[in-house]
């Protein structure tokens, strides 16, 4: 069930290494959403691969049920508009 929501980030959810990644992890934690974190810094192939998969140049990247939802700006926007609540 935790694999429904996957956050590709820099660092881990408990030790983020990037402000943008930290914000998205923080939002998910605040909403008590069960999610799997994948530290792209631990594996260069994942870091490159995920950007190719989504055709998106930056990290963090949030996936819900296998679909790319967005990065930090989009997640922040969706949080403020209430749209993020509808995803979980």
């Amino acid at each position: 069930k935790a694999n429904d929501v996957v956050l590709y980030m820099k660092g881990t959810k408990s030790m983020p290494q990037c402000g943008f990644s930290s914000r998205v992890a923080g939002v998910l934690n605040y909403m008590a959403v069960d999610f799997a974190d994948v530290n792209v810094l631990a594996d260069e192939d994942i870091r490159t691969g995920i950007k190719e998969f989504s055709d998106w140049p930056t990290i963090p990247q949030l996936y819900v049920k296998g679909e790319f939802v967005g990065g930090c700006d989009i997640i922040t926007e969706m949080t403020l508009s209430g749209e993020l609540d509808t995803l979980f």
Partner: protein
Amino acid sequence: AKGPVSEAIAEKLTSAFSPVHLEVRNESHMHNVPTGSETHFKVIVISDKFKDARTPIKRHRLVNDTLKEEVAADGPVHALSIVAMTPEKWQAKLEKGEAVGPSPNCRGGDGSLPKRNEA
């Protein structure tokens, strides 16, 4: 003085979107990189060209595509924060008294860029 990367970003965005409002904010000073770096940017692009791009992802992808060289893995830009909307939405935002604040604070970085205090 605006550096070459800032200039290139502004030029490409102007050319692609003919924006009614454009801001290219170099946020590198907020991060663990040397002074004068051009690695972390926030861009605000307000343009009619976003009229048919109904979701934020679609609008962001248009901006990403325009700046694809800059944000490529071997390009100069390490982080890109985007605000992209139509003039109507932007006007509504301004009327509500909202402003575009800075991006989240750095958490140290992933070690791939030279650090601020490195000789």
